[in-house]
């Protein structure tokens, strides 16, 4: 996984910030949401989110869908480490299993591929 956020900010800084927000907001989860490198979806204005830990994956995805102004008819796909997180899972569970060492959970979003040749 190539995270622009990880590339642009040194690990120590990210880790320190992760620890700080975890301590300050124990019931919220720090998440970095980024667009997949080659995808055609709109860029999010904001990539760093603090999300209630009982929010489900599906709820977060729908909020992101609205943030990038994509209609329900438009395909939007989300990944945690190249896998599809189950939409009914609470984010706390996904965080527990998949957060990085900097204490952030990284989510990548992409759209469908188009075909023609």
């Amino acid at each position: 996984m190539s995270s622009q956020y990880q590339h642009s900010i040194p690990f120590e800084v990210r880790r320190r910030e992760g620890e700080t927000v975890r301590a300050k907001y124990p019931n919220k989860i720090p998440i970095i949401v980024e667009r997949a490198a080659r995808s055609q979806v709109p860029e999010l204005e904001q990539n760093k989110y603090l999300v209630p830990s009982d929010l489900t994956v599906g709820q977060l995805f729908f909020l992101i869908r609205l943030r990038v102004s994509m209609r329900p008819e438009e395909a939007l796909f989300f990944f945690v480490k190249n896998s599809i997180p189950p939409s009914s899972s609470p984010l706390a569970a996904v965080y527990e299993e998949h957060h990085e060492e900097d204490l952030f959970l990284y989510i990548t979003y992409s759209n469908e591929s188009v075909y023609g040749a």
Binding site: L63, E73, F79, P86, G116, A117
Partner: protein, 401 residues
Amino acid sequence: KSFVIYDSNPSSFVPVLAKYENQINVFSEFLEDLPDTNEPVWILGECYNVKTEKSELLSDVHSKLWFTYRKKFSPIGGTGPSSDTGWGCMLRCGQMILAQALVCQHLGRAQMGVGEGKSVGEWYGPNTVAQVLKYGKLALFDDWNSLAVYVSMDNTVVIEDISKFFYLSWKQCCQGAWPRSGAYGWGESQPSDRSWSGRGRAEEAGPVPYPCSQQARGWRPLLLLIPLRMGINNMNPVYIQALKECFKMPQSCGVLGGKPNLAYYFIGFIDDELIYLDPHTTQLAVDSETGTPVDDQSYHCQRSPHRMKITSLEPSVALGFFCRSEEDFDGWCSQVQQELVRKRNLRLFELVEKHPPHWPPFVPPTKPDVQTTGAGDLEAEFIESTDKLFESEEEFEILNV
């Protein structure tokens, strides 16, 4: 059995009499090409042994309707292209999955046009084609008992929403608009024995006036399309097994997808290879007047079945399932629960009973024009209301839901 299917270029319609028949031909070319293996071959829910059932297998593949690029059709919109070579492959695959659903139903006339905000010549993805099939110029909604197309959002299939198809059709039936044949009423067909029947359709719909047959009460055969992305840039191999399971289901209606840039219609697999129909051949448009029977030879692929490694699959696909009846759909649901959903971290999609409360209300597609307006309104409203749920602190955006 014959039925009329409207092939299109994709905006004008060429009627084709597609003869769906189980003809056993000599497939010498095919025989050499298939690997000599003990692995079972799965073609849309049917299992074949290559060594003992070659002719049945090849006959099955050959019988599938094959749509390709066409040239020299009347220019789209009068002045547009007269061939879809180079851009229409995903639309052709969409036609194939639709045709397959109609073949399953042994009925139907389908028309397809371009849509979903795309212009002629643009490239399509699996979800967009699924939406075209749902909202586009399908002309399937004219017939009360014709195909209902459901396209899932965010990897989630909502049973309650699909049930609304039944309800609406049932209501139409019992308002007397449609013919009834006095078979059994669906309230009588032992609903308590079926795991997915407790969905409250009877309560929603009110008392049953008198028994309607399953058809008359409006079960509409369902084409269920599930757009997915099985990895960011490449197919994540953890999903290979789940994808194979889809082809084994009796309701399998194939998969829209492809290699980078090349759309294929996948109909099955053998070992670690997918079997597909390839639209990348340009054939002459079939010239005919509306309603005139046309030779269907160019609508069946005569050559040996195409195969490719599953690992080369472009991750963006749409799974297709066809549910002929309510029982069929119930069966699909329980199989999905067992096979896909149970494997919690390897699941391809989610099957839920209730409409997620944070989603906009589900509106079953009716007429394309009506639906398009409705969806736009909903979106505006929801964006406005969620803005209030965000507050900013330092560099983070804090979600309070």
